[in-house]
Amino acid sequence: MSSELRTIIKDSLFTGLISLALFGPIVGLKTSSKGAGLFVTPSWTPVIFLVSACIIGRFLIGLNSIRKKEIGFISKITSRVSNYMDNKGKHFAITGVLFAVVFPFLPFTDRYIMDVSIMILTYIMLGWGLNIVVGLAGLLDLGYVAFYAVGAYSYALIATTFGWSFWVCLPLAGLFAAFFGILLGFPVLRLRGDYLAIVTLGFGEIIRIILINWYEVTNGPDGITGIPRPTFFGLPFKKIVEDGENSFHTFFNLEYSTMHRIIFLYYLILFLALITNYFTLKIRKLPVGRAWEALREDEIACKSLGVNPTNTKLTAFAIGATFGGFAGAFFATRQAFVSPESFTFIESAIIVAIVVLGGMGSQTGVVLATIFLIGITEMFRDLEQYRMIAFGGAMVLIMVFKPKGILANRKPTITLREHNSK
């Protein structure tokens, strides 16, 4: 037996010991309440499985048979996809948009698929909105859900109080969210990256606690119900039509179907998401967009060149918040109901994960990451709890192996070329 193999075996056994210490008490000794007190029921089978998996995994890694080939294989694929996106990105984007446009009329789409698609598009829009803050300006915002909540609640309150139409309330919701973005951003944006992350997290939680406790306005944990559904340019999607009133299906002489509203919502969120994307792509080429990217790369250099970091970050923050507010308004009108439960920290974490996994700054990456995280895991809805473990694990793994995300697009929009290159 070579000494190398001996170390590998020793390492594997050590891993086994550690994993036994990790899983033994928490997995092996399950506490359950019976009557008044708690009891411990031992269940060693999963522990044995987990520990042996750890030992075998460590052994294979030790043999070096996994690491180089597998990891090399994965990064080869991602870099190939990344290259492909760089060259053919435009075609891919156009195909994607066309597919999204015809999607509701494809034969296999049913109610469930449409609902999931609307959810995916909402997350894509949130991801694109946050991408302005995290991807372009390099500010880690862990409280993005606060702006989503502000948008949803301001839409809900305005629409239920004044009865204004969606298209009037939508900009107002965005405006309110932007206002909150500036309110938070102004004092905190001079903070360093990781402090900023924690402060935004705190802000998100403050908003949520206020929503829970401010009964007079937000109706507390019960939330706001009866938010008006969106109308098709004034035509409601109602089944029963009173005299002298028009509904969508009577106006167009169609058979009534609940799908009409779903399809309309789908196009609405698609439209909003595409606006977000278009806006981001355009603003990247404007001076302020370039200033964001420059700030992300080197703040001190920016300061010495006369870029005002606080104001520049503030614009990114406010614009990101605005799109969060739009998405929130859409969320409110789709659900017809908002409550603080929808705006927990985990939502922020999911949106951040989408941006980070997609590759900070990459618009296509956000789409792929959302479809991957929301769409595929939606199929395993029964395994909800395991889903979140896999989710967090994916965040760690991607940071460890590809810290720049699946489709890294940290390349600044313009760079100064070296004189003698090529």
Binding site: P187, V199, M395, V400
Partner: protein, 303 residues
């Protein structure tokens, strides 16, 4: 007045718990300059291990002081394994990566730990019957009787003992010297023959064991835990670390006490619904107006 004294006692007890968690944040920040976002969840795991150990020992009928001591050791040992593993898996490969990478990785780790405990132990709250009951009563003649429970005495004394041992460890032993050297300059320390990786690992082990003690105190003090306690306690302890000056150990304890007092006074005199808002606001205000805290050193950014 009596009410104030009662809140003061409660605040100091709560502050001891926060202070012990805060030490983990401050040490890790001092040595590798990252916010260990998963530390709150390490605390939660410590609380769960302590709870399980309490139940198991409760069946044996051993005397209470021995149970407390054994549970303390078991919680520290097993939680330290978690701290060590988290560092090896999620943070070590990211040393020298861009600044936000470890933070995102820590966020992922926190989600994993939370949901792992939820899956393994169930989502319901876990109650524990009070083990240490009774206390000393003051002002028995007035309208409001102030109680200093034995549990509170136990928590405060245990904190003082651990802090004394810990201060000795950091200031007087070789390990502590190596740890402080790593904080100042990792490359130079490595050149002088100190195993930096091991020192960082030990930092995580120490931080996690202190967090597990805090977890054990939490189980005893509140008598009920769930998989979600780590998030709020973690944020508050981080606030404590920042308030005291991140990187400073006495600062962490001082910050912990302050946060504990602010929280109890706020719940006592202002409103109990908004007690978490008080903690978060303190965090935001501290970071904006004096990010170096009370006992911290100013952070100079070099090009």
């Amino acid at each position: 007045m009596e009410y104030f004294i009662q809140q003061l006692i409660n605040g100091i007890t709560l502050g001891s718990i926060y202070g012990l968690i805060a030490i983990g944040y401050t040490m890790v920040y001092g040595i590798i300059g990252m916010i260990n976002f998963a530390h709150g969840d390490i605390f939660m795991i410590g609380a769960f291990i302590a709870l399980i150990a309490f139940i198991l020992f409760g069946l044996t009928g051993v005397a209470l002081p021995i149970i407390l001591f054994l549970v303390l050791l078991i919680a520290m040992l097993f939680t330290a394994c978690y701290g060590w593993t988290v560092e090896k898996l999620a943070y070590k490969p990211l040393r020298g990566s861009f600044r936000l990478a470890p933070l995102i990785s820590a966020l992922g780790m926190s989600i994993v730990l939370q949901n792992y405990v939820q899956v393994a132990q169930g989502a319901r709250v876990k109650p524990l019957q009070p083990l240490i009951s009774g206390g000393i009563e003051f002002f028995q003649n007035s309208e409001f009787v102030v109680t200093l429970s034995y549990l509170q005495i136990f928590i405060v004394i245990l904190t003082i003992v651990l802090m004394t041992m810990f201060t000795f460890l950091i200031t007087k032993t070789d390990l502590g010297r190596a740890q402080r050297a790593c904080e100042q300059d990792r490359t130079m320390t490595a050149l002088l023959g100190i195993n930096v990786d091991r020192t960082i690992s030990i930092t995580f082990i120490l931080g996690s064991s202190l967090a597990s003690v805090a977890g054990m105190m939490f189980v005893l003090y509140y008598g009920v835990i769930d998989f979600y306690i780590g998030f709020l306690a973690g944020v508050k302890a981080f606030t404590a670390a920042v308030l005291g000056g991140i990187g400073s150990l006495p600062g962490a304890m001082l910050g912990g006490l302050l946060i504990g007092l602010i929280e109890t006074m706020w719940s006592g005199y202002v409103s109990i619904e908004y007690k978490d808002v008080a903690a978060f606001s303190v965090l935001i205000i501290t970071l904006i107006f004096f990010p170096t805290g009370f006992l911290g050193k100013p952070d100079i950014e070099k090009v």
